[in-house]
């Protein structure tokens, strides 16, 4: 039994039942415990939708999404989410208070909340910005708050939807390396969505590529056994990049052709 499993998952938004309205059809995907799983796929294929199903924000129309064999019923602190963009931070709370939020919901006392949140803020390099509000911080800093807020929960599963998508290339590289360090120690199982093949290779134990929609499912998977830390300039890196690029490129091409026709 795998730790996380999508079994024959079908999903559509709304009630129209025609094939064109189907987002996911027969999606099978398994993630074993402790794996950093990266999902790639052309824009609009249903990556976010799949993540939302695992988070419990949506329910599958058919099939099942299981964690340790039990169907996902609702969102919970065992599967914390790092959201795309920064709309999920609370603007009236400081960086520290945002990180304390999950601990407050757990009912921890003020002192313990504070020391745990401070430790994580320091871990993501924001020790000196604890008292600032989100609007006073850069995009990269806000994503760091999100990472700290998620990791402070010690959750067994982390769900990340293009967490670095809106950042500049430099900041992104730095955060990728930090995330590798953080996850290496935590033993968490991660589902990470990105459009960036290089990012996928830096981070992943395993990479899944999704088909173009409608009715998307997994097209291909890659097991990455390159040693870490991975070198973006190495020959092995380039070889893997090339293999993934070919599989993903085909799907992206389909989407481009379809949009050109429409």
């Amino acid at each position: 039994m795998s730790f996380i499993a999508f079994r024959e998952v079908g999903f559509r938004y709304g009630e129209r039942e025609d094939a064109g309205n189907s987002i996911l059809r027969g999606l099978d995907l398994e993630i074993s415990r402790g794996t950093f799983y990266v999902l790639l796929g052309p824009s609009g294929c249903g990556k976010t939708t799949a993540l939302n199903l695992l988070a419990g924000f949506e329910a599958p129309r058919s099939g099942s999404v299981l964690v340790e064999g039990r169907p996902v019923q609702q969102p919970g602190m065992d599967r914390v989410v790092i959201f795309q963009g920064d709309d999920s931070l609370y603007p009236w709370l400081t960086a520290l208070e945002n990180v304390e939020f999950p601990l407050r919901m757990m009912g921890l006392g003020a002192a313990e909340r504070r020391s745990r949140a401070e430790a994580w803020l320091a871990r993501v390099g924001l020790a000196n910005h604890a008292a600032k509000f989100p609007h006073q911080l850069s995009g990269g800093m806000k994503q760091r708050i999100q990472i700290a807020r998620a990791l402070v929960c010690d959750a067994p599963v982390l769900l990340m939807d293009e967490p670095f998508g809106a950042l500049d290339a430099q900041t992104r590289t730095i955060l990728q390396d930090e995330l590798v360090d953080i996850c290496a120690g935590s033993g968490a199982t991660v589902l990470f969505i990105t459009h960036d093949i290089a990012e996928a290779i830096i981070l992943a134990d395993r990479i899944g590529v999704m088909r173009a929609g409608p009715g998307s499912a997994l097209k291909d998977e890659f097991e990455l056994d390159l040693p870490r830390p991975r070198n973006r300039g190495s020959v092995e890196f380039a070889a893997v990049y090339d293999r993934i690029q070919r599989v993903l490129g085909e799907e992206v091409q389909k989407v481009v052709m379809r949009e050109a026709a429409a």
Partner: protein
């Protein structure tokens, strides 16, 4: 003082100067008195104590109605926001009442409460309550999908989501409603004082007309403006300090 404030003060002075000149050269005082004549009339009324009395009456009516209306409006708004069934039951009533200007209630209020203070308190309370309630409801209606999802992920139940996520997001809307409510309360107050009162700035304006004292009318009008600016500045300064983290837009 900031550069903007200096410029704004300059604009007011220039306006008064142009008015002074126009009043002296073109108009007779019975139509448009000069600012200097209005100031002199105001000073005379101040010395007699009549002006303070009118201001005090108007200000106290506003203060009582504003305080009661803000509390009631915020309470109802939060109740509607916290309990969806309450909202479903009562919102049609609110929608039904919202197009009735407070002043339309003046006559029934006179019948129920007479021309004493209570009637004015009721009208101003009603005016403020409505603005605060409607604004609070608008605040709760705003959708923040990711914030709500984050709350669920991080273990907030429905009460905690209300207390820690939906309520704080609505604070600026409640305060904004209070500000608008205060502005609208001035309209309600002045009409009510003109039609059903023996004291207050509204009555000063109307009475001056009957006594053919155009200067007196303008003393009343200027008194309203000054009272309004003072009340709004005090409200803004106090709330800015008390609700710093909510980044109010003032």
């Amino acid at each position: 003082m900031s550069r903007g404030a200096v410029r704004g003060g300059g604009a007011v002075l220039l306006f008064l100067l142009v008015w002074e000149i126009a009043a002296r050269m073109i108009f007779v005082p019975a139509v448009l008195p000069a600012p200097s004549a209005i100031a002199a009339e105001g000073w005379a009324r101040w010395l007699s104590g009549a002006l303070q009395w009118d201001v005090l009456m108007s200000a106290s009516r506003l203060a009582v109605g504003f305080a009661a209306g803000s509390l009631l409006g915020a309470f109802l708004g939060l109740l509607f926001g916290a309990f969806a069934p309450v909202r479903r039951i009562l919102e049609p009533l609110v929608q039904f009442l919202r197009f009735i200007p407070p002043i339309a209630w003046l006559t029934p209020v006179l019948i129920w409460f007479g021309i004493g203070e209570e009637g004015k308190w009721v009208l101003i309370t009603y005016t403020t309550t409505f603005m605060v309630l409607l604004n609070t409801l608008a605040g709760f209606a705003e959708q923040h999908r990711d914030r709500m999802r984050a709350a669920r992920v991080f273990g907030a139940g429905s009460w905690e989501t209300f207390r820690h996520v939906r309520l704080p997001a609505t604070v600026p809307w409640i305060l904004g409603g209070m500000r608008i409510g205060m502005g609208n309360s001035f309209q309600t107050l002045i009409v009510a004082e003109m039609l059903a009162s023996n004291e207050g700035l509204g009555q000063l304006i109307l009475n001056s007309r009957l006594q053919l004292s155009t200067e007196g009318m303008f003393v009343g009008i200027a008194g309203i403006a000054v009272l309004g600016i003072l009340a709004d500045s005090a409200f803004r300064a106090a709330t800015r300090r008390m609700f710093q983290r909510y980044r109010l837009g003032w």
